[in-house]
Structure formats: C-alpha cells, structure tokens
C-alpha cells in the first residue's frame, strides 16, 4: 500500500485534532433548517400505509382488498402475492456452524409471525387517505398458538415460528479454551451468577421512513432514507429489487437518531421502492410511532448464567457462560451475530484463560431483534457482576476481587482466551483513579453507618472493555459475515475549496465537525474550510457505515490518512514551484506553505490556492510525472479490534419501602485514545450512559402471553427524561493506540455497557443487607419490592 501508514501518524501535539470545536451542523439544525426525511418535498408523491397483523401468530387464509381499492385517493393495494413476485427474498444463510439458514419474503403470504407483521400496503394520493383505506383491507386469519419467551420456544412440542426449521433453536455454538474441569477440581469454590436484560427498542425520536423515486427513462431508483450505512443499504436494496447497484442511489438526509435501528433495509422499504418502480410514480412512507414501537427492530432480551471456579482470594480460575437470546420472529441479521460477540469479549479486562461459552438463540413470535447501541451491552454487567457474586460469597471487598483478577500493565499485550488481543488499554489505571475520585473507603464507612439508620446505599463498579472498531479479521475470527474496512476521499477544487467524504453516515453523532478537524489536521488548514459531505452513495466512497463505535477510528482515521497523502502531494507541488529539490523543509499550516530555515518556520508566500490552481489549471508546472488535480482516495481496514476502556462508578440510595432507586452520584474514568473533538466525545459519553441507565431502570418492551405488544405509545415504553438523568462526572485519562491513525480508539457504546453494570451492581450492593440479588432488568420498583417481600 502506498501513502502514509496509520502507525506513523501518532504525534504528541496536534493543531486541530483535540480542539473543542462547536459543531458545524448546528447552524442548520438550530434554525429549523435541517432536512430530515419528511422535510423533503416531492411533488406528486404517493403515500404508503401498511396493514399489519393484529395477532402474534396466525395463518393468513385470505385477503379482501376490493373496498380499499375503491376508496378515495387510492392508487394501489398490494400484498405479498404481488410484491414477492417483484422482489427477492432475504436469504440469511452464511456458512456458520450451528446457524440455521432462514429465508424471508418481502411480505408474508402464508402466516403472520408477530403482532405488527406487515401483510398489505395501501398507496394513495395523501397520507390521511392511505390510512383511511388501510382500515378497509380485510385479512382472514386462523389463529395459531404463539411462543413468546425463550423457554417456551425451546419447550417440547412448541409451535414453530419458522416452519422450515426443525425447531425454534435457530443458532447454537460452543467454545472452550483451557481445562475447565481441572480448574473446577482445583477451585476453593464454584460461584454461580445470573443476569438478564429485557427486550428494548432503540427509539430514535425520528421514526423510519423513505421516499422512492423511479426515473423510468434512466431506469434508476433514488431512495431517500435515513441510513447509518448507505452503501451496504444500496447493495441490499439492489439485490432485493433485482437491480444493478449502479441503478440505485441511496441518499440519506439528516437523521433524527438511529442507534442501530437504521442499518438494514426493511421489508416496508423494499415494498415502497418496488411500488415506485411498478407505478412509475414517487412513493413515500413515514412510519408512525406505533409502528416504530411494534415493528421496527428491537433488541437485547438476552440472559447469561455464569459459573466461576475461584481460589480463596477471589481469583477466577475458570469461567463458563451460558448465553441465551430471544431473537424474535425473523432473522434480519445472522442470529448468532450479537450473542457471539458477547461470548468473544466477555472476560474483558480480567486475566482468565480457562473459559467456555455456549450460545443458544431462539425464535419467538415477537418483533425481530438486531443490534442496538452496544449490542454486547450485557458483557460488562456479567463480568463485573460475577466478580461481585464472588465477593459476596467469599466475603471479600468487591474492589479487591477486581484487583486480583485485573489485567496489569505488565500483562499487556494480553491475549484473551478467545484470541482477542488487549493492547494499549489502561483498565487498572482507570479503576484505581476511579476508586480515588469516588472516595471508596469513605463511602464504605458511611454506607455502614447509614444502614444502621435504615438508609440503604449502594456503590456499583463496572470495568468496561469497549470493542469500538471491528476490523475484517474480527468478523472472520468470530464467524460473522462482514468487512470492517472504511473508505474516504479528500478533494481540493481549483479555487482551493476543500471537500471530504467517507462511507459512514451520521445519525446524530456529530461526524461533520470532528471529520473536518481530522481532514484539517492532515492538510494543515482550518476545519472551517472543510466541507464534509456524507450519506449519498453517488458522492461517498463505498464504506461499511456507522456501526459499533467506529466513527472516529474508521471514519476519522481514514479521512486523516487521505488528507495526509493529499498534503504530501501539495508539498511536492510547492517544492516544484519554489524550485526546491525536495519538500522536506516544507509544511502546510493555516493554508500557507511554510519553510523551515535557520531553525524557524518562515512564510514562502505560497498558499493552498496557488497549489490548487497549479494542480488543475497549470499542470505543466507540476513535478514531472505527477497527475493533475488534487484528489485523494484511501481505504483502510482497521486492526482486528480496537478497544477503549473505562470504569463506571454509581452510588444509589434504595428506598426499601417502595423499591425506588435514586442515583446519588455517577462517575466515569475513561481512556478512549486520541480524541478528535472533546465536546463531541463528552456528548457521546453522557448520551450513552443515560441510555444505559434507561435500560437498567425503566425501559421494557412488554409482550403479553399471547404475543400482544403492550408498548404501543411513549407513555408505555419509558425512556429517561431530564428528571431521571443524573449529572455525570467524567475524568479523561486518554492514551493513544499505536496501530490506528492519530492513535484514535473511538467510543460511544461503553457508556451503555458501564451503566448497565454499575447501576445494577450498585442496587445489588444496596440490597446486600436483605440477602437478595437482582438478576434481571429493568430494576423497576415492582421487581425490587418482589425481591424484598421474599425477605419479609
């Protein structure tokens, strides 16, 4: 590979990287001038409305569409009988041992598999009229028994969610390293612990939607759709619609949040696009909140049981984990995808070599599941919660149990039993700093005194190893299909105007500003000069999009590399213009070419504009053999995995009479490597942590036993409001990664992992005098009281 190498780009001081630059995108968003999907005006567009199954599991025995077709404004009413002829089914059959192949047609025609399954689509001249007509679509159903839990799905004789499979066990894998039996025989004790996260949903405040425009002359589809990953989405859309990729443009406007919900192409979107192609008219669809809560991707609902063989001092000799997950009715992702990552990184920052895990995934009659911000969220809770269980059982201080097990600086690089390598991480440094900042010893003394007065405080700790940026090698090692590379370009126009793009699309992560800083750093200009354009597949290079926490490392890093290469070309041109043999004494700063002479930098009188003009308009002055123009494209596949790390501390007070949990203090010590923009990073840390707190305490996507979704409104599915979100103290102890551009590590999901662990561990610490342990979330007053009632 030519060009600058990532490992050569770390530096002690940067000019633009690391500055708290307020965001470029704010100017439009604050003035109400952003362009979200529904703000795009398309004259003559038709409106789609979906008819959905009111039942969790039912055979479809007939459709009566006549009345709907005759309703005012209606242009078309279709079911899977038409749409499935126009489109390809989604085959999910990667060659993974233990994973059952599945296939999903665009709309179901034989049976509905969950409450909210789309079974028909009405297209009318107006959204109100489309909704009116949808009420007139009659679907005949024969009810089937529904399976609505992991256990029910795997019970003998359970109804099959997918009748092409031998059972509802859609994925089953095992892993073992070391000698578990021997470690257990040597152990002082074997400690059991159990953890479970409830079903949740992403809840972007802007729901999904799309606008499909078919250009019949050029045979080209333009799909306006909020997307985290426009290029993979274009590939999926083209494949499903039987078009070549060059016949499809995916254009993502501003997006009002996604959190993992806007990566894949859904059945509704394929239906809308297929209708636009058939009707040869623009068709748009806006999901309403009920649809978002019942039929957009959901997440979590996984459980982990651990068996830890321990020595007398709390050292873990071996660890076994049984990971189970309720994946819902359809596989929009390979079913092993999320749980497998949990298994791969579960041991986190702790020294464990004898390790085994088993992953079992079941299909149920609920909405399909997929990745939600921190899909591996449960890992830190499981690991630190297991250590808390060890501390309780052996009556050792929980901080001490963490200490004796933690990877020490001298252990690095540390290869985890799954082959994952930890390097350039600082778990013990962050943990010790956190103990100091929180005043650990003083807290324990006060806690003891308060208990005597009937006040139950708890302190929870959680050490997080956050897998931020997945390289292709990780996917291969984990047995998950996918590439981890990212692509970027930087262009300087003849006037000196600068544009840059990457394959990722932001959905609130503030990419435009830190990306401008990365490019500005690489080029030696001001970030305000850099226009960052994202989200349109005709403009952006093919990259894997925004997933995991790869935005800074993969996106910012690749842009930085492209900018550095472009600067090298500019300095070659500058040297030629200045009559120098080499650019070694030259540097670009603030858009000006400086020359290092006599121990100081002096101006040469040449600027970026002169170089750009020469590159495009006067190429005869370029060094011999150099191509005209100033455009640089880079693609970069990050290392197998890039890790950030952090320690979360949460202090709570538990009201034993009501089960209410109040957060008294929340502290994070974090090492997320070189930071592009500290304002943006702090915003991500705050936001992720509050989302994690919402998951521990409030959020719960509830289905009843018959499979009815009971969370159809935002009054039922409760996310934290400003009154529940605590103030969060953040201490940064950043150290660079040696293998990534500029030493970036990335972050944005660790806040969720840490909160889920720290809050849960804090509540269990508060519950300690009662001798009960919370083993599932959310930690609602109801659940806490049910635990306390047992104790009398």
């Amino acid at each position: 590979m030519s060009g600058v190498k990532p490992e050569d780009t770390a530096r002690d001081g940067f000019d633009q990287i690391g500055k708290p630059v307020p965001r470029k995108e704010d100017a439009r968003l604050l003035r109400g001038k952003g362009t979200y999907l529904d703000d795009i005006e398309v004259p003559g567009a038709l409106h789609a409305c979906f008819v959905r199954s009111p039942y969790a599991h039912a055979r479809i025995t007939g459709f009566d569409l006549d009345e709907a077709k005759a309703a005012p404004g209606v242009v078309a009413v279709v079911t899977g009988h038409e749409v499935n002829d126009w489109t390809n089914a989604l085959k999910m059959a990667p060659p993974i041992e233990g994973l059952q192949p599945t296939e999903m047609t665009t709309l179901p025609v034989d049976k509905a598999r969950f409450h909210g399954d789309p079974v028909a689509c009405v297209v009318a001249t107006d959204r109100y009229l489309a909704e009116d007509a949808a009420e007139l679509v009659y679907v005949e159903y024969d009810l089937l028994d529904a399976v609505t839990s992991y256990d029910a799905a795997l019970a003998d004789g359970a109804p099959l969610v997918d009748e092409t499979l031998p059972s509802n066990l859609v994925s089953h894998q095992k892993f073992e390293a070391g000698d578990i039996a021997r470690r257990k025989a040597e152990a002082y004790r074997v400690v059991e612990a159990a953890f479970a996260m409830q079903r949740m949903t992403h809840l972007p405040i802007e729901t999904r939607g799309c606008i499909a425009l078919w250009d019949d002359g050029r045979a080209h589809l333009t799909m306006h759709i909020g997307s985290q990953a426009p290029h993979p989405m274009r590939s999926m859309l083209a494949g499903r619609l039987r078009l070549a990729e060059h016949q499809v443009t995916v254009a993502s406007p501003d997006v009002g949040g996604a959190f993992g919900q806007k990566i894949i192409v859904y059945r509704e979107e394929i239906t809308v696009a297929a209708l636009a192609c058939r009707l040869k008219r623009p068709v748009r669809w806006r999901e309403d909140r009920l649809e978002n809560l019942s039929a957009s991707l959901q997440a979590r609902e996984n459980a982990v049981k651990t068996l830890a063989a321990v020595a007398r001092d709390g050292r873990i000799l071996s660890l076994e984990a049984e990971i189970t997950e309720d994946f819902g009715a359809y596989c929009f992702y390979p079913a092993n995808y999320l749980a497998r990552v949990i298994g791969m990184i579960l041991t986190g920052p702790y020294r464990i070599q004898d390790y085994a895990f088993e992953v079992k995934i079941a299909l149920t009659n609920k909405c399909g599941a997929g990745p939600m911000r921190a899909p591996m969220a449960i890992t830190s809770l499981v690991m630190d919660g297991t250590l808390d269980a060890v501390a309780r059982e052996l009556d050792i201080d929980p901080a001490e149990v963490r200490r004796v097990n933690m990877v020490r600086p001298s252990d690095l690089p540390y290869v985890m039993p799954t082959g994952e390598k930890l390097e350039d991480v600082t778990p013990s440094e962050c943990f010790e700093r956190g103990l100091e900042e929180i005043g650990y010893a003083a807290f324990r003394d006060a806690q003891e005194a308060d208990r005597d007065n009937g006040i139950y405080r708890g302190l929870g700790m959680c050490n997080v190893i956050e897998s931020t940026t997945y390289g292709s090698a990780f996917y291969k090692a984990a047995g998950i299909p996918g590439s981890g590379h990212e692509a970027a370009w930087v262009k300087i126009e003849p006037s000196g105007a600068i544009r840059a793009s990457a394959g990722l699309m932001g959905t609130g992560q503030s990419y435009e500003t830190p990306y401008a800083q990365a490019v500005a750093e690489g080029l030696g200009v001001d970030p305000a000069q850099v226009d960052v354009v994202l989200g349109n597949t005709d403009i952006s290079p093919y990259g894997m999009g925004a997933r995991g926490s790869r935005g800074a490392t993969a996106g910012g890093g690749t842009l930085f590399l492209a900018a550095l290469d472009l600067k090298a070309k500019m300095l070659d041109i500058a040297a030629a213009l200045l009559g120098l043999n080499s650019p070694s004494e030259l540097e670009l700063r603030g858009g000006q070419v400086l020359r290092h002479v006599g121990g100081a930098w002096s101006e040469t009188g040449l600027g970026l504009g002169d170089i750009a003009r020469t590159a495009y308009m006067d190429p005869l002055k370029l060094p011999e053999g150099m191509e005209p123009g100033l455009e640089m494209h880079r693609a970069w596949d990050p290392p197998q995995m890039t890790y950030s790390n952090s320690t979360h501390f949460c202090a709570v007070t538990l009201d034993a009479a009501t089960g209410r949990v109040d957060i008294d203090r929340y502290l994070i010590v974090e090492d997320c490597g070189t930071v592009l923009n500290p304002l943006v990073v702090e915003g991500q840390q705050q936001g992720a942590t509050v989302m994690g707190i919402g998951g521990v305490l409030f959020e719960h996507m509830v289905y009843d036993e018959s499979g009815q979704n009971l969370c159809g409104t935002l009054a039922d599915y409760m996310i934290p409001t400003a009154c529940e979100a605590p103030e969060i103290e953040i201490v940064s102890q950043n150290t660079p990664n040696r293998r990534t551009p500029a030493g970036i590590k990335g972050m944005a999901e660790g806040g969720i992992m840490g909160a889920i662990g720290a809050v849960n561990n804090a509540v269990n610490d508060a519950l300690r005098p009662f001798g009960v342990v919370a083993e599932r979330q959310p930690l609602s007053p109801d659940y806490i009281r049910s635990l306390l009632r047992v104790t009398g």
């Binding site: 703000d39 404004g73 109100y128 972007p204 009002g256 503030s510």
Partner: protein, 161 residues
C-alpha cells in the same frame, strides 16, 4: 374530501390554508406552509418534538387540528430564529453541545423561549422539570440544561442593558 379554506397567523404572517378539518396543525405547518422546523416524533403528545407556541404558550402541534387555530397566534422555531445568526438560546445550545441529532431541538427551543420569558432565573431543577416534557434520546440532557442556564443568564443581561 371536505377541504375548507381558512386563515392562520403563523410567525406574525397571515397564511391562507385549504385543508380538511381533520388535518393536524403539525401537518399543515409542515406540508401546507413548508415550515418543516416543527418535527413530528410520536403524534400522541408525549415526545414534545412538535411543540409550537399558541398565543405565546407551548402546545403540541400534533394534538391540535389546524382549523381550531383561526384567530390564534402560532409561533414556530422559524419565527423564533433571527434573520441572521442565532437567538441567545440557540447560541447557548450550540456552544454547550446541547443537541446531537437535532430532531427534538426545535421543540426544546419553542418550550424554553416561552419558559424563560416567564421565568428568567430558573434553578436546574425547574429547568429539568420543564425539559421532562421533551424527550431526547441522544444527549442525556446535561448539556441542554447547561445551555438553558447559560441562555437565561445572557437573556437577563440583555434585558438589564
């Protein structure tokens, strides 16, 4: 389809609208008047993204029929934005990184333009209490609270000067 012509006063301008009586204020503002700064997040009055001012008081545009708003003064985020630059509240949200995806932001601006007029010196608890009517999934709220506190300070100075 029973479309009716009526007049709305939006951002101090009289606007002629022809719409069905059942059409929501949020839809008329966005589709008929192209004031797309008012966002729709839930259509059942919980999320607060569609908040506009009706005669100066915050109201959910998704819970009101546009036709009910004849003879009332509607103000949207566009009406609270100066011709050049940003209002003190918008500027504070920018400086304190009080928005990420920005979808909930116009509803927060309308709510707090009205609130700060009535309560120029709010405590953080009062800010959080009012802000609890606007759901934000990105920020965790701390920076929004900080920005509102800062805006209040700047607006108090502005009034005093």
């Amino acid at each position: 389809m029973n479309r009716i012509a009526f007049t709305l006063t939006v951002n101090a301008m009289a606007c002629e609208v022809v719409a069905e009586p059942r059409k929501l204020l949020s839809d008329v503002l966005r589709e008929d008047l192209r004031l797309t700064g008012t966002h729709v997040g839930c259509e059942h009055g919980v999320c607060g993204a569609c908040t506009v001012l009706v005669d100066g008081a915050p109201a959910r545009a998704c819970l009101i029929f546009a036709i009910q708003m004849q003879c009332r003064e509607i103000t949207t985020v566009e009406g609270l934005t100066p011709a050049e630059g940003l209002s003190p509240l918008q500027q504070a949200l920018h400086e304190e990184h009080g928005l990420q995806c920005g979808y909930c932001t116009p509803g927060i601006i309308t709510t707090f333009e009205a609130f700060l007029r009535e309560n120029p010196k709010p405590t953080d608890d009062e800010i959080r209490e009012v802000l609890s009517g606007n759901l934000c999934r990105c920020t965790g709220y701390a920076n929004i609270v900080r920005a509102i506190r800062k805006a209040a300070q700047i607006m108090r100075k502005g009034t005093a000067a």
